[in-house]
């Protein structure tokens, strides 16, 4: 009796549990694919179009949507939850559906010319302190920027060097030098970018310098000469001026010692050419010439035949056929000749 009641109780409990679950369970032939990370479910089951037509369309769609959503919600409710400010929050995993990116992924910037050089030489960056002691102001000041230590732009007096022109303004000279340095840096920056993007940058020409050497002067002259609308074609030369050297083309030489076999090959070929008095036979050229001649003959023959017939009515089709045959014969004839 007691055992029976226990069994009954268990059965009853089971039934209740099943009843509870019934409201949230959905039966599908194929399981759905879930991507809980992006709150996505994909139902691959075949939809019976008979059902779709039979029932009211909207109701059918809603029922389908309800079932699928229920399954998705079941999946989401399985996730770990936590309480954040009076709200129960489920932690989502990373989305598993891969979607294309919006923009191409970042590529690392190729090293600048300086970075290449520094790497080659093993030069490493040194960390410098931001503040340095300024002896004149007797305080710690920034190394660079506004109110920096040892600021040479704020000097009210500059000593004129012995070698310098006494009338030259040393202050303006200093600012000019600074401007040139900035411009040069900007130029280098742009050249680095151009190299990184594999764009050919125009030649720099001549950079400003305190003292130009003889070669640089010559280069400057040649650059100035060609900087006209007609690229220096109509530019006069001075009386005793020499033509500029090393402009444009560079001669290239084979190495003195190295590839003997290729050198030998070259010499042998040269000898062969010298040895043979007869002109060289170009086969493709000869064949082409032959074919052209045949065509010409054939055309002449055809023309003659046509001329003989005269204007004998509208025998366009016939004429065409005859023409074709004629061509074929000509071709065969050509073959014989070639043999």
């Amino acid at each position: 009796m007691a055992a029976c009641s226990v069994e009954e109780l268990l059965a009853k409990a089971e039934q209740e549990e099943a009843e509870k679950l019934r409201s949230i369970t959905v039966h599908k032939e194929l399981d759905l694919d879930f991507d809980v990370g992006s709150l996505l479910a994909c139902d691959k089951n075949r939809i019976e179009s008979r059902d779709f037509r039979g029932q009211k369309k909207e109701d059918f769609l809603r029922a389908l949507a309800r079932d699928n959503t229920q399954l998705l919600i079941n999946e989401i409710w399985k996730l770990q939850t936590e309480r954040v400010e009076e709200a129960i929050v489920a932690k989502l995993p990373e989305p598993s559906t891969r979607l294309p990116r919006e923009k191409a992924p970042l590529k690392p910037r190729p090293p600048t010319k300086w970075e290449q050089f520094a790497k080659l030489k093993g030069i490493q960056k040194k960390k410098k302190t931001n503040l340095v002691w300024d002896d004149t102001a007797k305080e710690w000041r920034r190394r660079w920027g506004y109110k920096r230590a040892k600021d040479n732009t704020k000097e009210w007096l500059i000593e004129v060097p012995e070698t310098a022109d006494s009338n030259e303004d040393q202050f303006s000279k200093r600012t000019r030098a600074k401007k040139e340095r900035v411009a040069k840096n900007e130029l280098n920056r742009l050249r680095n970018i151009a190299r990184a993007q594999k764009v050919k940058s125009p030649g720099v020409g001549l950079l400003p310098k305190a003292q130009q050497s003889r070669d640089e002067l010559a280069q400057a002259v040649s650059v100035a000469r060609t900087s006209t609308a007609s690229a220096g074609r109509f530019q006069d030369r001075l009386a005793k001026e020499k033509a500029p050297r090393n402009s444009g083309k560079r001669r290239k030489f084979e190495p003195l010692i190295g590839d003997f076999s290729s050198e030998r090959q070259k010499q042998l070929e040269l000898l062969k050419v010298l040895d043979s008095r007869r002109p060289k036979l170009d086969i493709t050229k000869a064949v082409n010439a032959q074919m052209r001649q045949e065509d010409r003959e054939e055309a002449a023959a055809k023309h003659g035949r046509k001329g003989g017939k005269g204007r004998a009515g509208r025998g366009g089709k016939m004429a065409g056929r005859r023409g074709k045959r004629g061509k074929a014969e000509g071709g065969r004839g050509g073959g014989k000749k070639r043999d």
Partner: protein, 307 residues
């Protein structure tokens, strides 16, 4: 803009910040959508565009004026707009005799059109036509796709990916369970795509997981697929390429067996037993000048340890 990146130096902090916001990033922002209409639009198309805008709202731009463009013939103007507003998704609505009530869903990669799919509206019910309470703006929708076509047909596969991309919203790490309100259901059946939008009501079921009831809130569309412009496989693959930094790093010396148990290999030094502190006794105390013979075996011992 990408061409000039790095060449044109920003002159102010603000412009620098702006340029950084537009530059390609490791983990990308939410894809924004621009919604625009062509030279001629019917009322259906205009309303449809507005409704989709309201579904997509914080991450979308609605163009109010006409833009006479034909994306399938010339996509340069779309590319220009995408660059201007930094939007990589677009929805273009138009209406003409040949293709009445036309919607073009598309997405860009690197400011060039990747995929474009043209859908014609057969039947449309707007958001305002159905009178009941709507979901709050910016709710992340649950997306459900039904029908075999989404899994078998190539064009439908792309359409599915495009629609996921379009309606997915932001990528979040956690979600408030009570806030799962909005369901977008796409059904592919008999050559048509049925888009339905429902509000999800969580009812008590007696156990932890709630029972779901759905209530249609609109907009709802019956769509037919028209022209498509799909990216070549190469480009599609390139667009999916993940940057190296995002790929998970392989962990060394850790393995898993079939049951999911983690095994690790631990390398240890041999313990020097002569320095082990044992019980202190007067008799064992070291005397001065006593040389302790050192053990020579100091090899590392490898042991497989279950973690």
């Amino acid at each position: 803009m990408t061409q000039l990146d790095g060449i044109v130096k920003p002159k102010t902090r603000r412009s620098k910040r702006f340029m950084e916001s537009r530059a390609p990033k490791l983990t990308e922002d939410v894809k924004r959508a621009m919604i625009m209409k062509g030279g001629n639009t019917s009322q259906i198309v205009t309303e449809a565009l507005k409704d989709i805008y309201s579904l997509k709202k914080p991450d979308a731009v609605l163009y109010k004026k006409k833009n006479i463009a034909r994306p399938f013939e010339d996509s340069t103007s779309l590319e220009f707009f995408s660059k201007k507003t930094d939007c990589s998704l677009f929805l273009f609505g138009s209406h003409n005799k040949k293709r009445p009530n036309n919607l073009i869903f598309g997405r860009m990669f690197d400011f060039h059109v990747l995929d474009m799919i043209e859908l014609g509206i057969e039947k449309y019910v707007s958001l305002s036509e159905i009178k009941n309470s709507k979901c709050p703006e910016g709710t992340k929708p649950m997306l459900v796709f039904a029908g075999e076509a989404f899994d078998t047909d190539n064009e439908y596969k792309r359409l599915k990916s495009l629609l996921i991309d379009f309606f997915r919203g932001p990528n979040v790490s956690a979600v408030r369970l009570a806030g799962l309100e909005h369901v977008l259901h796409f059904t592919a059946l008999e050559g048509k795509v049925y888009l339905r939008s429902y509000r999800c009501l969580l009812k008590k079921s007696g156990c932890r997981t709630p029972r779901i009831e759905l209530e249609e809130i609109g907009p709802s569309f019956d769509l037919v697929m028209r022209r498509t412009h799909l990216a070549s496989d190469d480009l599609y693959k390139l667009a999916h390429k993940q940057p190296k930094a995002l790929k998970p790093k392989k962990k060394k010396n850790i393995s898993h067996d079939a049951f999911g148990t983690t095994f690790g290999r631990v390398h240890m030094q041999k313990q020097d037993l002569s320095k082990l502190q044992t019980r202190k006794m007067k008799g064992l105390r070291k005397r001065k000048g006593d040389v302790v013979a050192e053990g020579d075996g100091q090899e590392p011992k490898v042991a497989k340890v279950e973690k």
